[in-house]
């Protein structure tokens, strides 16, 4: 420790009366994804103290949703997570359906499941790409961005838009699968499965990523539960918990969801966790397509633009690619929600773990640490 470069640097800094300086890591930092920042107090290249600097993207969604009709909010909720918008729509609609105490048709459930899993694939590709870019492997990022486009094409075909699909509405979904969609989806899945070999070569078997990520940001099995981590981060620490299995929604009760867990809990394990779950998601979509029933895609809830939800409250959660996305919806029996509260999956990692992990870390590792925990600032800000 005494002869480590940062210790030496701190000694030099002390001699020159330059002990601690503040570094704004984000929102205008190349290593930061999204409009978020950490104010880092540094000695040399080592972080001493961290202060999260959120709020650059705070759009007041929770207040805004109280002023709009139930169905109008569908156009608003996907904006809470740009990379993975579908869990928002499904969680919001599920919460409404819970208060209404209705059960949507099976085909609608499967269509929601398929869009959720496709969204998970696209988000994983973006996440893996961000991780690759954070350690300087830009080729992998470019390939993944190109492959993500194939999934966005499918979304465009199914829903009419590439990023904000607005596909789920209370009572079901807006469109049925177009002709030829399933065949193309199978083709894209096969392509992605073949591409996995390429990803492995470029990213996951690359010595650079092993050297950079091994041991970085370790979370023990107990701490992961204690700190409220969810999703792949929780499972990479050895906890076999998944909302899709524990509290199933949409069509997951009918599907065999395999929960992948790994022991390890460091950034490398989390990176490999995403890769393994990516492979499992491809298989899950195939299983869902095989078991998808025919039938109605929407429940008739009367005039949706004048939908009234009875007095009550419900919490609905969805397993997004980053963890548990939850919507707590309160209705006073009117045309508009009384209160919608959104639980984003990134808050425990992005704010709490940052204060545990970042001190003593080198500045070079912050971007990789963030990407490995899949911190998505928009759902901290909302």
């Amino acid at each position: 420790m005494m002869d480590s470069p940062s210790y030496m640097l701190s000694k030099i800094a002390e001699k020159d009366n330059l002990t601690v300086y503040e570094l704004f890591f984000g929102p205008n930092h190349p290593g930061m994804h999204g409009n978020f920042g950490y104010v880092l107090e540094m000695i040399g290249t080592e972080i001493v103290k961290v202060r999260p600097n959120a709020g650059h993207l705070h759009r007041g969604f929770e207040k805004l949703m109280e002023q709009k009709l139930w169905v109008q909010n569908i156009a608003l909720v996907p904006r809470i997570c740009v990379a993975d918008p579908d869990p928002n729509e499904v969680a919001y609609c599920t919460a409404i359906e819970k208060i209404l105490r209705v059960d949507i048709p099976d085909r609608a459930k499967f269509l929601r499941t398929i869009t959720l899993e496709m969204s998970r694939l696209s988000s994983f590709l973006m996440g893996m790409g961000a991780l690759a870019a954070a350690v300087g492997l830009y080729t992998a990022m470019n390939i993944m961005t190109a492959d993500r486009d194939l999934i966005l094409d499918l979304f465009e075909w199914l829903t009419g838009a590439r990023v904000y699909h607005m596909f789920s509405i209370p009572g079901g979904v807006r469109n049925d699968l177009p002709d030829g969609f399933v065949e193309r989806l199978y083709k894209v899945l096969d392509h992605l499965e073949k591409r996995l070999i390429e990803y492995d070569k470029l990213l996951f078997e690359n010595p650079i990523i092993h050297k950079r990520l091994k041991g970085l940001g370790y979370v023990s099995k107990e701490d992961a539960v204690k700190y409220g981590l969810t999703g792949p981060n929780l499972r990479a620490s050895g906890n076999p918990y998944d909302v899709r299995v524990d509290d199933p929604y949409a069509a997951y009760p009918y599907l065999d969801v395999r929960v992948i867990t790994q022991e390890g809990g460091d950034a490398l394990t989390r990176a490999i966790q995403i890769r393994l779950e990516f492979e499992e998601t491809i298989n899950l979509i195939r299983r869902a397509l095989k078991t998808m029933p025919e039938g109605e895609i929407r429940l008739n809830l009367g005039n949706l633009s004048a939908l009234k939800v009875p007095k009550g409250e419900a919490y609905a959660k969805v397993e997004s690619s980053k963890g548990e996305f939850g919507y707590y919806v309160v209705s006073d029996g009117g045309m508009k929600p009384y209160r919608v509260a959104v639980r984003g999956p990134s808050l425990p990692a992005g704010l709490l773990l940052a204060q545990k992990h970042l001190p003593k870390m080198k500045i070079d590792d912050v971007a990789a640490w963030m990407a490995s925990l899949a911190i998505c600032p928009p759902d901290i800000d909302k």
Binding site: N73, A75, N175, P178, D179, R184, N303, L304
Partner: protein
């Protein structure tokens, strides 16, 4: 994930990428050929088109619009002396959610597959004037059509809203 020793020649395998088709299309010269129709998706939610003969000016689209993008504009009077109203879509506000199309009772309002909108700017204008100019122009007015290639519409399927 194993970290086995790799062959010295393994970088050469990347040469195969030289003979692969590119993932991108050169946009104005080529168009995307992934959907049954060339170009964007057959149900693309692009700029609106409104069939004025069918539009009854009921204002449902204005009421459902989550972002206040639609305004009903009076364009004349009918025989009984009542105002005829037609929707004006402000694309500075529109989020292309398509709820106005879902809610339209006569299926007159549809979305086209066009998504490029050009506003000619005048060079002599100051920056402030230009903003106002674009604000005025960046709209779908009742007497103009921005595209006739119908994309998102609920004509064939059952009504989604309303």
């Amino acid at each position: 994930m194993s970290l086995g020793d790799k062959s010295v020649y393994s970088p050469l395998t990347n040469l195969k990428n030289l003979f692969k088709k590119p993932m991108t299309v050169k946009y104005p010269k080529e168009i995307l050929k992934v959907f049954p129709k060339d170009g964007v998706s057959p149900i693309y939610r692009g700029l609106h088109t409104n069939d004025l003969n069918k539009c009854i000016g009921c204002g449902m689209c204005q009421r459902i619009c989550p972002f206040d993008a639609i305004e009903m504009k009076v364009i004349g009077e009918n025989e009984q002396g009542r105002a005829i109203k037609k929707p004006v879509v402000d694309y500075g506000r529109c989020s292309f959610c398509g709820f106005c199309v879902d809610v339209c009772p006569t299926n007159s309002l549809k979305m086209s597959r066009h998504y490029i909108y050009k506003v000619k700017t005048v060079k002599s204008m100051s920056a402030k004037e230009e903003v106002e100019h674009i604000k005025q122009k960046f709209k779908l007015l009742p007497d103009e059509s921005l595209g006739d290639d119908i994309g998102y519409n609920t004509g064939k399927t059952k009504k989604i809203l309303g």
